[in-house]
């Protein structure tokens, strides 16, 4: 039996998801490919966004994939770390901003 939930080698098998649902799988990959093409944003900018989101989603496959993608595009480790901080700041900000909801509720119930 497989001992861990995540196996790095599984990333290589990602494409196989089309085997059990060809149409949807193909549509997804077509969409995915299109999203990362050079557009109003450069492919390099998109790669850094993907890296930050990979961290906030805490997806080990995406972290591996977009770290490597960044290296391929000449992205430096300083740029990568700054991008992750952006993700982390939004995550923590999103947590803290809900503090206002807590404050509202306290004020209503016990104000």
């Amino acid at each position: 039996m497989q001992k861990t939930y995540y196996d790095p080698a599984d990333l290589r098998k990602f494409g196989k998801i089309t085997e059990w649902s060809e149409e949807l799988g193909n549509k997804f990959f077509e969409y995915y490919g299109k999203v990362f093409e050079e557009g109003a944003l450069t492919a390099r900018e998109k790669s850094l966004i993907a890296l930050a989101v990979a961290h906030t989603e805490q997806c080990p496959y995406c972290i591996d994939a977009y770290t490597k993608d960044g290296l391929q595009r000449g992205v430096t480790k300083e740029e990568m770390m700054e991008a992750i901080h952006v993700g982390a700041a939004i995550k923590s900000g999103a947590t803290l901003v809900h503090g206002v909801q807590m404050m509202n509720k306290v004020n209503k119930l016990d104000g």
Binding site: R12, E38, T42, A43, R44, K68, L71, Q72, R73, G74, T76
Partner: protein
């Protein structure tokens, strides 16, 4: 001064210094057990096996494996300790060929070709042959390594040499990690000196191109996007200009293979290469229009095969018996390292091919 990071595999007496051992590794494991297809099988899928040489366009001559640097990923296993240097006699034989070849490009490489004691004489003679594009692959630091090399930019200019130089990144940290401490600063200085005599300027006929190869176990990004980033950074930070950037994939041989194995990246890297296989790149891999001549005058399909000691599959084996018609149409000698030439947009000494 630059500080060399390591020693050549030859100096370290590593088993990987032997081409036989490298070829074994490239044929065993994941390629033997069928996990990944061999290169022959893969190109067979699109009826491109055997790969055949077309008309010769590029004559590449390796004038010796000696180098002032010992870059971590060098496919030549070059370094100051390598004593394989082309003699004047072999150069004479090359000159005969250069005068009569139909090739439009002559490409001198090494090691650091400038360290061959007869380099300047050879360039002077070769430049008289009327070859359209005469390339010297200069590692840049050699220009600043010793006073006797300081005038190289002028010398190149005098002979209208096309300078092609390596630059792994536009940042100091990444460049020095791969090529040795101090290499970045010296390379920048050398580029500024090349610019000063006219090399790399927008309308200049003095061509200066840079070669980018990744600093680790990953493939190069899109050549045009990388060129844009390099140009912007080198201009903003140092006022440096150059013409084109060639993005080259590291082939899994020699010191790069050693690095892949030591860092436990070998299998992943081979997977990356195979996954990025692009059948459209196969038709233009450089062995189809190139002959590579080694320091001792033997002929190979490319510089990589030279390092793997895989000679041309032809009756003509040596520059002394050179015959372009007989070499045309020969079957190219391949192994799994060839996947490095067909990944993504493809890779050659002139960069992307597809």
């Amino acid at each position: 001064m630059t500080k060399v990071k390591t020693q050549s595999l030859h100096k370290r007496e590593s088993t990987l210094a032997q081409s036989k051992r490298q070829l074994e590794i490239l044929s065993n494991g994941i390629f033997q057990n069928g996990e990944l297809p061999t290169f022959a099988k893969k190109i067979g899928e699109t009826n491109q096996f055997p790969l055949k040489a077309k008309k010769l366009e590029i004559l590449q001559i390796n004038v010796g494996y000696m180098c002032n640097q010992v870059c971590e990923h060098c496919h030549v296993d070059a370094g100051p300790d390598r004593k394989e240097i082309m003699t004047k006699e072999t150069m004479q034989q090359c000159l005969e060929v250069i005068k009569n070849t139909g090739a439009h490009t002559l490409d001198l490489t090494g090691g650091a070709p400038e360290m061959n004691p007869n380099f300047r004489w050879f360039v002077e003679e070769a430049s008289k042959a009327g070859i359209i594009d005469f390339i010297v692959r200069s590692n840049l630091t050699i220009i600043r390594a010793n006073k006797k090399y300081y005038d190289l930019p002028e010398f190149f200019k005098k002979h209208n040499v096309h300078v092609v130089s390596s630059m792994p990144h536009w940042t100091r940290g990444k460049t020095d990690k791969q090529r040795g401490e101090g290499v970045f600063d010296m390379s920048i200085k050398a580029l500024q000196e090349l610019n000063a005599v006219g090399y790399g300027m927008p309308d200049s006929g003095l061509r200066l191109d840079l070669v980018y190869n990744p600093s680790g176990a990953f493939l190069p990004g899109d050549q045009m996007a990388m060129e844009k980033d390099f140009k912007k950074a080198l201009m903003e930070d140092f006022g440096i200009q150059f013409h084109n950037l060639f993005a080259i994939t590291n082939l899994p041989i020699s010191r790069f293979l050693d690095y892949l194995i030591a860092s436990e990246n070998y299998e992943d890297y081979m997977y990356q290469l195979v996954e990025a296989y692009n059948p459209a790149a196969v038709a233009n891999v450089m062995c189809t229009n190139t002959i590579s001549v080694s320091w001792d005058g033997f002929l190979y399909d490319c510089d990589f095969n030279q390092m793997l000691e895989l000679p041309v599959n032809s009756k003509v084996k040596h520059i002394s018996e050179y015959n372009e018609e007989l070499l045309e149409g020969r079957n190219i000698v391949i192994s799994q390292h060839c996947y490095g030439c067909t990944a993504g947009a493809g890779s050659s000494c002139q960069g992307s091919v597809a």
